[in-house]
């Protein structure tokens, strides 16, 4: 690098640039927070949805599935599972029907032995997720 460009100049660009862009990022974050209520479907976060989210986390569903495209790539996307499986009943029936020892030769999902209340909470959670405004993602029903 040329001699005219000194180390002190490089240092100032680092500190100045970092602080500036971090503040800009914070400003964009404040603005995003302000628009969240229109898109994040918060009006439908019921007690059951909150319970469903906890069950989602405490059974590590994200370790096999993606949710809105984030997670693991081993099993189907579930952000739109509510639509693909035809509603809450479809989701509950699928989760309930998993064989304990898996499906021979096929990628398998565990049998979690959920109670009826837990199944409904998970279905409510996935319904809530499916109604978040995701700018039309995923491209089609297959997720």
């Amino acid at each position: 690098m040329s001699q005219a460009f000194t180390k002190a100049m490089a240092r100032n660009i680092f500190y100045g640039g970092s602080v500036f862009f971090f503040l800009l990022f914070l400003a964009l974050t404040f603005d995003s927070e302000a628009t969240f209520p229109e898109r994040d479907n918060r009006q439908n976060i019921t007690e059951s949805v909150a319970m469903g989210k906890r069950l989602w986390e405490e059974n590590n569903c994200i370790g096999c599935h993606t949710l809105l495209g984030e997670g693991a790539y081993f099993a189907p996307e579930l952000g739109n599972a509510y639509k693909r499986l035809g509603g809450r009943e479809g989701i509950m029936a699928f989760i309930m029907s998993r064989p304990k020892d898996g499906v021979p030769g096929r990628r398998s999902m565990p049998q979690f032995n959920f109670t009826q209340e837990e199944l409904e909470a998970l279905a409510d959670f996935l319904k809530y997720v499916s109604e978040i405004n995701t700018a039309d993602w995923p491209p089609n029903i297959q997720g």
């Binding site: 971090f22 974050t29 989210k53 590590n60 993606t66 809105l68 099993a75 898996g102 565990p110 993602w137």
Partner: protein, 465 residues
């Protein structure tokens, strides 16, 4: 080795390598589960093996960063560590906490682990990469604080070099952004928004400062190029990192319920994120070409150059591949992501830790500057085996990802996920073969520490001007 307290680094490096082996064993298990769906089911379901694989990765990289800091900080600060005893104590705390957590994943169903560790009091579990029980997370914070105290006090009371200051900023940032792992609202959009403040602002923000400073340190030592020159480069590289990478977080805010304007902010800024990685490559080759001496540790120089190249390929090129919003619309959460994740993590963070170990280990084992020729030759073999097999893993996953994207998302008759996975099975088999070669490379790497230990060091004539 100039300072006695640098010796604590050895513990950290040994633990890092041990956990690395565990990570790769579970990688190979995962790869097999991809093609033999019920392999080890229900004893070790895929999600459990995956948690072990990714968490071991993070933990061993943290061990590597801490070891690197304990080695280079005293040398740069020109003084002993403030408290070598604390460093040893924290080593054992971290190792035991880490081991217990991994055993918990393997021996107890995850929901049981959540119950046992009181996840209900402060729910933080069950999110990708942040699966650790809350109590483990608190343990990580405690270890990080003790570590920062030790390193920080040493740096502030010694000679202040740019390498040390940049490393310290990176490490403080690592600890600060980890705190967002404790924020887990019921609102999924907010949960995801701040989850990225840990994951993205780590790997495309503060960790790059750690990467840059370690690379700069090893280049100063092995090339003898004037420190002023190297430090200027370091500042420019990390300036570009944060200028592009902070707003670049927006490339994760396209489809998760966040405002549409992120498609512009995220695309424009993240498209510039490859620049600092490219500069790092130019920097490393420039310094080695302008070297004022030939360092006898050729393996370390090879790792340093390899880091620069592979980080650029994995993060820069494979990142750019899917970072523009219109492309990401189709590739989001597919094998393309996995391809990029593997090469970027390997090229940037695995390789920089191995660079530092390669440079420091001979001194930590009582040599003057380098291992014997036989040991170095074996180490360089392991470099090529691991690096080339990682390139193939990436290429096979990219092939799988392109087909997946087309068949499931782009064609006129999109097919269901599970149907597509079966159609692209061949790519997963090839990935598995490459993964086994990677494992062999890792075993060769470990063997290199045990051969030629009694033989003399490599000595080179000085070409000092």
């Amino acid at each position: 080795m100039q300072y006695k307290s640098q010796a604590v680094a050895k513990l950290y490096f040994i633990a890092a390598i041990g956990l690395f082996v565990g990570q790769i064993l579970f990688g190979v298990i995962l790869g097999l589960q991809y093609v033999i769906g019920d392999f080890l089911f229900p004893e070790i379901p895929f999600n459990v093996a995956r948690m072990v694989h990714t968490n071991l990765l993070i933990v061993w990289l943290l061990f590597g960063f801490m070891g690197a800091a304990y080695y280079l900080v005293p040398e740069e600060a020109e003084r002993e560590l403030v408290s070598p005893g604390l460093a040893v104590l924290m080593f054992w705390v971290f190792l035991i906490a880490g081991a217990l957590t991994i055993l918990g994943y393997l021996l107890v169903p995850y929901s049981g682990l959540a119950q046992m560790t009181g996840n209900d009091l402060l729910p933080t579990m069950g999110r990708e990469f942040l699966e650790q029980p809350t109590i483990t997370k608190i343990g990580i914070v405690v270890v990080a604080l003790a570590f920062l105290y030790n390193i920080g006090m040493t740096i502030l009371s010694g000679r202040k070099t740019v390498v040390n200051l940049v490393l310290l900023i990176g490490l403080v940032g690592l600890a600060v952004f980890f705190l967002f792992s404790f924020y887990n609202p019921d609102n999924l959009v907010k949960d995801k928004y701040y989850w990225w403040w840990v994951v993205h602002l780590w790997v495309e923000g503060v960790w790059e400062l750690i990467l840059g400073s370690i690379l700069a340190f090893v280049l100063i030592k092995t090339t003898g190029v004037d420190r002023e020159v190297i430090e200027k480069w370091l500042y420019v590289i990390i300036a570009m990192t944060l200028i592009t990478g902070i707003i670049g977080t927006g490339h994760h805010y396209y489809w998760i319920g966040t405002p549409d304007y992120w498609q512009w902010w995220g695309s424009v800024f993240s498209a510039m994120e490859p620049i600092p990685f490219f500069m790092m490559t130019v920097f490393a080759f420039n310094m080695v070409n302008r070297r004022r001496r030939n360092h006898p540790n050729k393996a370390a120089v090879l790792w340093a150059l390899g880091t620069a190249v592979m980080a650029f390929l994995g993060a820069g090129v494979w990142g750019f591949l899917h970072t523009l919003a219109p492309v990401n619309y189709y590739t989001h959460g597919t094998q393309i992501t996995a391809a990029h994740g593997h090469m970027a993590f390997y090229g940037a963070y695995v390789m920089i830790v191995l660079t530092m170990i390669s440079y420091a280990m001979p001194m930590l084992r009582g040599r003057k500057a380098a291992s014997s020729n036989r040991s170095q030759v074996l180490e360089m073999w392991s470099f090529w085996l691991m690096t080339v097999s990682m390139v193939f893993i990436t290429l096979f996953l990219t092939g799988a990802g392109i087909l997946q994207t087309y068949l499931q998302r782009y064609s006129d008759t999109p097919l269901p996920f599970m149907v597509v996975q079966e159609k692209i099975e061949l790519f997963y088999w090839m990935r598995e073969v490459a993964g086994v070669v990677f494992l062999i490379g890792l075993l060769v790497y470990i063997a290199s520490f045990f051969v030629g230990t009694k033989e003399p060091e490599v000595v080179l004539e000085q070409t000092d001007a």
